[in-house]
Amino acid sequence: MEAPDTFSLLDLGVDPTTKAVTSSSSSLTAQLDVLNSTHRGLLQLSTPNQAPPPPLPVQPQRSAQIGKLRDSAQAALKKQPTSTSNNPSSSEIPSNVSEAIKLYTLAIDMALSRPTWEPSGLLREEAAIMLSGRAEAYGLARQWGDSFVDAQLSIECKRAGNALAYARGGRALVEMGRRVEAKDFLAQGADGENTALQGAKGQLNQLKAQIAQAQAQGQQVPPQALGQVKQMETAVSNQEEALKELNILAKDVA
C-alpha cells in the first residue's frame, strides 16, 4: 500500500448513462465488475443515502419468501405417491418431484442472492436447508450425482447440526455404488454430528437450568426465552432423529 496520503491514479471512467465504472486496463475488469454489481445492489436500497443498513435487524421478506417456496416444494413432494419411480430403469422423473426440484432451485437462488451485506450466517442457514431439501428431491428422482453434490453443498453451508444432509449424501453414494466413499463420508458425518448434538443438548440444558433458577427466585421468565427453549427442543429432537438415520446408514455400509 502507498503512504496514507497518496494513491495511484487509475485510468477509470464512468459511463454517463449506466453510471458503470469502466477502465481501459483489463487487469481491473474483475474488480470493477464486482464494484458495479455492488453499485446496482445499493441502488435498490430504500435507506436514506442508499448506504447499506447494518446487518441486523434483517428485513424478513426474503426469509418469508424462501420459507414459502420450501413449503410448496415439500407439498409437491407429498402430492402423489411416487409410484412410477419404483422402476429404476425408467429415467423419467415424476412430475411432482421435478416440480419440487424446480421450487427448491428457486429457493436456493433466492437464498444465495441475498444481499451480501446481510448476515452471512443467515444465508448459510437457509441455503443449507434448501440444498438439503433439493438433495432429497434429486434422490427421489434417482439423480444421485446431483443429490450428492447438493448434500455436499449443504454441508459446506452448515457444518454442524446437518445430519440430514450427511445421510442424504451418504445414501446417494451408496446408490451410486461408491461404498468406500460412502463409508468415509458417513463415518465423518456421524462423528461430527454426535459432537454437535452433544453441544446442542448442553446448550439446551444450560438454558433450562437458567430458566428454572430464575423461576425459583420468583422472577418472571420472558416468553421469548420459553419460545427459544421450545425451538431448541424441536431442533435437538430433529437432529437426534437425523443422527439415528445417519447411524443406521453408516452401520449398513460398514
Binding site: G13, P16, Q31, P55, S120, V149, R179
Partner: protein, 231 residues
C-alpha cells in the same frame, strides 16, 4: 599573575577544537545513520500488494472533484467503491490478525529477521490510518445514517459471504462430472438390472460396482460391467 586574554584564548583553542570535532563528527554520524535508516524504511517492501479498491475509490473521488460535466460521478458509485474498499480492508485485517502470533513467535526464535517485523508493523500502522479514513469517508457520504459505525459490519459480512461462496463454487464445479459419472453408471446398471430383475431380487443395482466386488468377493460376481448384459 595578570589576566592575559590572548594567552587564555590560545590555551582554549585546543579543548574547543576537540569539542567541535567531537560534536561535529557525532552529529554527522547520527545524521548519516538516520538518513540511511529512513531510506531503508522507505525502501522496505510493502506487506500487502497495492490496495486497488482504495485506488479505485480515490480515483473516482478525484474524478468527481475535477468535475468535467460528462464524467460526473454520482455519490452512489462512490458509496459502492467505498464499500468495496472496506471489504478489502477487512480481508487484510483478517490476514494481519492471523499472521501476527505466528510472526511474533518466529521472531522470538530468531527464525525471521527484524526487517520482516518492521514491514509488518508498518503495515499495521497503515491499516489503522486506513480504517480511520474509511470511517470518516463513510460518515461524509451518508451522514444521516452514521454509516461509519456500520460500514465495517457490512463489509465483514460481505467478506465472509464471498469467501464462503467461493467454496460453494468449488463444489458446484464438480456437478457436471458427478452427474455424468452417475448417468454412465445408471445406463450400465439398468441394462443389467432389467435382465436380472427376476433373478436376484435383493441385489441392489449398485452391486455391479467394482468397489463392491472387493468387499463381497463373490466368485460369481461379474468382472466388468460389460459382461452383465451378455449373461
Amino acid at each position: 599573575m595578570e589576566f592575559d586574554l590572548l594567552s587564555t584564548a590560545k590555551g582554549l583553542v585546543l579543548p574547543l577544537a576537540y569539542l567541535i570535532i567531537l560534536v561535529g563528527s557525532l552529529s554527522t554520524f547520527s545524521y548519516l545513520y538516520r538518513r540511511r535508516k529512513a531510506m531503508q524504511a522507505a525502501s522496505l517492501q510493502p506487506w500487502f500488494p497495492p490496495h486497488t479498491s482504495r485506488n479505485v475509490y480515490l480515483t473516482l473521488l478525484e474524478l468527481q472533484s475535477s468535475d468535467e460535466k460528462n464524467t460526473k460521478v454520482p455519490d452512489s458509485v462512490l458509496r459502492a467503491a467505498l464499500l468495496r474498499r472496506a471489504v478489502e480492508d477487512i480481508q487484510r485485517l483478517i490476514q494481519i490478525r492471523a499472521q501476527k502470533p505466528a510472526l511474533t513467535q518466529l521472531l522470538q526464535r530468531g527464525a525471521v529477521g527484524d526487517q520482516l517485523m518492521q514491514r509488518f508493523q508498518f503495515a499495521e500502522k497503515e491499516m489503522e490510518a486506513e480504517l480511520r479514513d474509511v470511517v470518516q469517508e463513510a460518515n461524509a457520504l451518508a451522514p444521516q445514517q452514521n454509516w461509519g459505525q456500520t460500514i465495517f459490519q457490512s463489509a465483514g459480512e460481505i467478506a465472509h459471504t464471498e469467501a464462503f461462496k467461493k467454496k460453494l463454487d468449488d463444489i458446484e464445479a464438480t456437478r457436471a462430472d458427478e452427474r455424468e459419472r452417475w448417468e454412465v453408471k445408471r445406463k450400465n446398471v439398468s441394462e443389467g438390472f432389467l435382465k436380472e430383475l427376476d433373478g436376484v431380487a435383493t441385489k441392489k443395482p449398485g452391486s455391479s460396482d467394482d468397489e463392491v466386488l472387493v468387499e463381497s468377493g463373490g466368485p460369481d460376481a461379474p468382472l466388468g460391467k460389460g459382461k452383465k448384459p451378455a449373461k
